[in-house]
Amino acid sequence: MLLHLGAAHLATERQTNTVWARLTARSRLLCVLLLVFAIALTPNGRWWTWATYGGAIALLILVSRVPCLPLLKRVAVELIFVGVVLIGTLFRQGGDVLFHWGWIQITTEGVTVLGSVTLKAFLSLLTVNILILTTPITALLHALAELKTPPLLVAIFSSMYRYIYVLIDEFNSMQRAARSRNLMSDPRRQRTVIGNMIGSLFIRTYERGDRVHQAMLARGYSGLPPLADLTKSSSLDVAALTFTAVILLIGQAIYL
């Protein structure tokens, strides 16, 4: 989890002169959403469909000039989390038995499911990470608002995003204080201390919320934060969305 946090700042050092960066955040988000849903909803065993989508993603990596090392690092970390769950998919009934040892048996069906699910998870992670590494969070939240997400919800998202790091810092300093007073030595007391810390942080958080509200009122807040103007979509955006849709249809048409 902590590894994810560091990478969230990476979008700031993005490339700005690529075709991908010239698209509005809204069309980037739409393209990625379409692609991820298509990848994840393709039934197991359709290898050529994923090969097509994989080609599209490779093209996207080239076009967006996303930094490859951070991308691979993030995907690798997330895939390790996924990998352990995946092993359970191997041991299922159905199809021909490939391997047999005691009550453990590996069948063709198990291998198909394992391969398909791994590939789906990998391609989806790759796609979403390209978006995150090339698009600033604020632009992404703005794109969500443009895509008719309730404004109240988007306002809550952005207010939450603003305070995540503040609260994590506060938690870390509380933990450091507890450790420097030797309170974290035995597991039993550690649980009580962490429980107290969470309780105390909730009280502080709630009061912080009230103070933030007062500060917002003092600056003329009246219900919802003002939204920036809608970004204009160019012909490039239309082309990108059309291209994505065509790729998706070609991928699905292979098995018709």
Partner: protein, 239 residues
Amino acid sequence: MFAISSLFQPQLALHIPDGFLSLPVILVTWILAIALIGISLQRVQATYQERAVPLMGVCAAFIFAAQMINFPIPGGTSGHLLGGTLAGALLGPWAGSLVMAVVFVVQTLLFQDGGLTVLGANIVNMGLIGTFGGYYLYKVIRSVLGQDSLRGVLVGAAIAAWMSVFVSAIVCAIQLAISGTVPLAVAISAMAFWHFMIGIGEAIITVAALSYIWRTRPDMFHRPPRHAIADKSRSYSAR
């Protein structure tokens, strides 16, 4: 089956990644999740009015931060809080599940914890079942054992916290099995085994946090005890 179930690490099991669920499961859970978010948005706006944005924002950030702290679970491993029942007991069912849903959306969108397509399922498992179910179980136990007693709150919270984790895990296992990703027996045994222990950790931390708040600021509970309403204006910290 024990060999397989011990391969599952506790931390990752509840956030389903992309590609694990089939179309029908995804559709049903998305509809449920959108309904939950829509209704709770309305209720929260009606209750908190223009305080909704800053308050829900910081509370969601709080749950996010609290989920990052690892603590030792009895039995040797370590786990982290999910916080559904804690949010429900402090903020009430609607605000609590809205906060949890916001946490999952932000985790998925910005930190890739759990997949985009299965976001609906993750919200249903931990927001609807974990928070909403957890809150009402806590409420029933609290009203049976005494609305104004610490014992009622703590027993209710402990049972609700454990149940919310365990039931969400079982539902998650069933969703994986319906989608044809993992056989039902493997999924249930692995999930039940780990989340039995994780639920105990969740219950301990929830109880510790709630009893701390009860001692210092009992008025912060959703439906505070009667003695707390009288002296409400104490401030815990001037920050």
